[in-house]
């Protein structure tokens, strides 16, 4: 029975692992921290799996557990904080030689998103994943109106980071 549960879990996680990778991409700055967070999210998903009911989509359920782990449960290693500082320095240099090419702009955007706080990152993440405000509000535990207001503020903040 347990083996069966394990098999079906691994099967599903394998299929949807990109969601976990994307959470890791947003909340970490280097490969080691990425793998570390991936590992922790996997453990949390597995621990919560027996209570997972089929009425929710596996992927929707993963968003919640993944974000909760990244925001609240995961303890950042010192290494990732140092790298973040390094990234900011790089970002400042790049901003000076602002270039209009799409690739350059994307790099700047990703850097800007990395400078947001944990909650803002979660909003951006769900927005990028094309989630509607109802799902965003339910995942974070805030009202839909507040999710909208906050999202607008995050957009403004991103604009300020990009054009200081």
């Amino acid at each position: 029975m347990n083996k069966e549960l394990e098999n079906s879990f691994v099967e599903q996680l394998q299929k949807h692992q990109n969601i976990v990778h994307k959470v890791c991409r947003l909340y970490t700055n280097n490969v080691d921290a990425h793998n570390d967070l991936f590992q922790e999210i996997t453990i949390q998903l597995w621990k919560a799996y027996p209570k997972f009911r089929g009425d929710a989509k596996f992927s929707t359920w993963m968003y919640r557990v993944g974000l909760n782990t990244a925001i609240t449960l995961y303890r950042k290693s010192k290494r990732s904080i140092q790298t973040q500082e390094f990234d900011n320095v790089q970002f400042k240099i790049r901003a000076e030689e602002y270039d209009d090419t799409e690739e350059q702009q994307l790099k700047l955007l990703y850097n800007a998103v990395h400078q947001l706080n944990d909650i803002e990152k979660a909003l951006v993440f769900l927005y990028l994943e094309d989630k509607d405000y109802r799902e965003i509000s339910e995942t974070l535990g805030i009202t839909e109106v507040n999710a909208r207001v906050k999202m607008n503020r995050v957009k403004k903040k991103l604009r300020t980071i990009l054009n200081p």
């Binding site: 691994v10 453990i43 782990t69 706080n117 909650i119």
Partner: protein, 209 residues
């Protein structure tokens, strides 16, 4: 916002992540979690154990203490206080386990943070309870000794009023400082441990105003 749309387009294309296959995922399930909930729970248990041991170990290792303890039990007040003390410990242990069990990673981000902070609060109250008990038990034991211990009684009776005031002042001061130092250390420790959690919780709370 055009930039965010650009980002969205790129994001949804997906980047090449290292794709784990099933044989790599299996061992991951059985690794140990390093989550903050687990760490806090272990610390909570250690704290409970510390305070329980602190109050029971002298009874087992010191004959003198045990003897005095046994005579104290002839006093019904002492029995009542001890029973009360044990009930409080059971109550806190029960509340701790209940709160810990209610922490669910599938709740919303806000609710999850609230359940973790609530669990923390129970231990905080337990420590506070112990410190308050220490603070009030010192003057109480002074009075108790005064009534029960003949030698001590005679010594105190010989004191003039200035010496009396001094004795009480010093007792209160020393106990107060001791209690405050422990409390300060405790707050500092948890301030550091829960810094990120508190910051994120405040950020989410701020959205409601």
């Amino acid at each position: 916002m055009d930039e965010l749309e650009l980002l969205k387009k790129d994001w949804q294309k997906g980047t090449e992540y290292k794709s784990y296959d099933n044989s790599e995922i299996y061992p991951m399930l059985h690794k140990k979690s390093s989550s903050i909930v687990k760490m806090l729970f272990h610390i909570s248990l250690a704290e409970m154990a510390f305070w329980i041991l602190l109050t029971t170990v002298p009874f087992f290792i010191s004959d003198n203490y045990r003897e005095r303890f046994n005579t104290s039990y002839e006093n019904p007040w002492f029995v009542a206080i001890s029973v009360f003390g044990f009930l409080v410990i059971f109550l806190f242990v029960y509340l701790l386990f209940k709160a810990h069990k209610s922490i669910s990673v599938t709740d919303s981000a806000k609710k999850l943070m609230e359940s973790i902070l609530r669990t923390r609060k129970i231990i905080k109250y337990y420590v506070l309870y112990n410190l308050v008990m220490i603070f009030i038990s010192i003057p109480l034991s002074l009075i108790f000794e005064f009534n029960e211990n003949k030698e001590f009684h005679d010594q105190i009776e010989a004191f003039d009023s200035t010496q009396m005031i001094l004795l009480y002042a010093i007792t209160f001061l020393v106990t107060g400082v001791f209690v405050l130092v422990i409390w300060g250390f405790y707050r500092l420790l948890y301030g550091i441990l829960l810094k990120r959690l508190n910051r994120n919780y405040n950020e989410i709370k701020k959205l409601e105003i």
